[in-house]
Subunit: 244 residues, 2 copies
DNA sequence: CGAACGCTTGATGGCCATCAATCTCTGTGG
DNA sequence: CCACAGAGATTGATGGCCATCAAGCGTTCG
């Protein structure tokens, strides 16, 4: 029995391309160095190049950019099975930073190894990039969220989306999920101040829509919440691998 | 002499993967149906599936999402060489719409043909997805722009970025570029009202930074503009193909 | 047990949405 | 040739959402 097949990463890739034994083996070869990082200590600094990339196997991470004035924007959150820093390898420049939100486990992948694997297993390369392409769909949704929704709807939509993503990898339920984010994380992700995040959460809670408290998100009235925020999970759908 | 090699699309892919003759030929085979669309008439409707995708050869397009309340958010602008609707093919759902901003020429690519080409030429697939990954870097920058910059800086940054992208395909110069966008396009891209876009443009013009008028963007003081907006073009860099 | 972190609440003000009116320019049909 | 419509641009007035400043609370941890 091959362990690699059951890793969150391999399961994710299998949604797009059916992997052969030799492709799984190539994937296994990338898993040489398992590492552990502590919450709050960055993996990759913005602007460095020739970085390694990571495959996240345990814990939560966020990717973000810092501006010259010190404000930061969280671009996305990563959960087990997600690739970290793929773009910094593919494009020779790390265009953002990564902060572990919890203690995490990740597999370090050297740039050279990844490119070699891509060259030898182009189907595997296709699978990896395909999965990255779906992750982009979430970034797009995040962008719409920032551009055209007020703070209440933005928060509601964000928490619903996060729940949907976690559900895809078997975490959480229809009624809620565990969530290690602080209100500061929410602020930096949603383009709000931490103070206003607090007020928004209070209002959503008092309106009986959703409760965010002590590491737990609870959908108090999921239907009304979906209605209120205009949430549409269609972009997360994936009916099965298109490349046999 | 093979025409396909000189298309903007093939040139773009060559930045990532050196294409062989047979891969160029596979690419050529995708170019069966050249079509023309008129400005303002959408190519792909949000929410439809089983759509064709397009390779843009001439003109400008924007991709956007519309919300239930009627507001729209422009996610990105496409210029010659860009792929339209790749994700709607790869993920079996079209998650946004496309509006031609000018009259355009595009090559229609059927879902089946694309998947077949991907299966037979995985290196070509890698190149296409790799290019898509770089385009995502621009969406990320756009997201930071929406989340953490005020309207003036947002506009300045956006117009600089657009200029840098056009420069990559040989359009425009250090002093400015032709730009068919209306103030409504800018508003929908930047998450602002059209009225405020007008005020912002006036202020930037009166401050001697940049002029947007009658289809032309002019950098009046490029250095100060870069400084003002915090623009950093690093994420657009690409030093040459990594896969030989 | 002090310090750090995260959360909470109040007061003030500014950025930007909204409503409304006007102007220019282009294209179109009578 | 002119009237008209429509798209795009422009400017003023008003108000609301949310940032900012400030202060205080509870909890955890070295």
């Amino acid at each position: 029995m091959n362990l690699i097949e059951n890793s969150p990463f391999a399961r994710k890739l299998s949604n797009f391309v059916v992997l052969t034994a030799s492709e799984l083996s190539a994937l296994q070869n990338l898993h040489k160095r398992r590492r552990i990082f502590l919450a709050g200590r960055d993996l990759v600094q913005q602007g460095q190049s020739d970085q390694a990339a990571y495959i996240l196997s345990e814990g939560w991470v966020c990717s973000y950019k810092v501006q010259s004035d010190g404000t930061r924007q969280i671009v996305d959150f990563q959960i087990p099975g997600d690739f970290l820093g793929l773009r910094s390898v593919l494009l020779r420049a790390s265009d953002h930073s990564f902060e572990p939100i919890t203690d995490i486990q990740a597999v370090e992948v050297q740039t050279g190894d990844l490119l070699e694997t891509f060259a030898n297993s182009p189907r595997l390369a296709t699978a990896v990039l395909w999965a990255a392409s779906r992750d982009e769909a979430m970034v797009v949704e995040h962008l719409v969220n920032l551009g055209r929704r007020d703070a209440d709807r933005r928060m509601a939509h964000f928490l619903l989306e996060l729940g949907a993503r976690l559900a895809l990898v078997g975490i959480g339920s229809q009624t809620g999920y565990d969530c290690p984010l602080t209100q500061y994380h929410l602020a930096d992700a949603l383009g709000l101040s931490a103070v206003h995040v607090n007020r928004v959460l209070r209002q959503l809670r008092e309106n009986g829509l959703i409760t965010f408290r002590s590491g737990k998100v609870t959908f108090d009235d999921r239907n009304r919440l979906v209605e209120f925020s205009g949430f549409d999970p269609e972009y997360l759908d994936q009916a099965g691998p298109l490349l046999k």
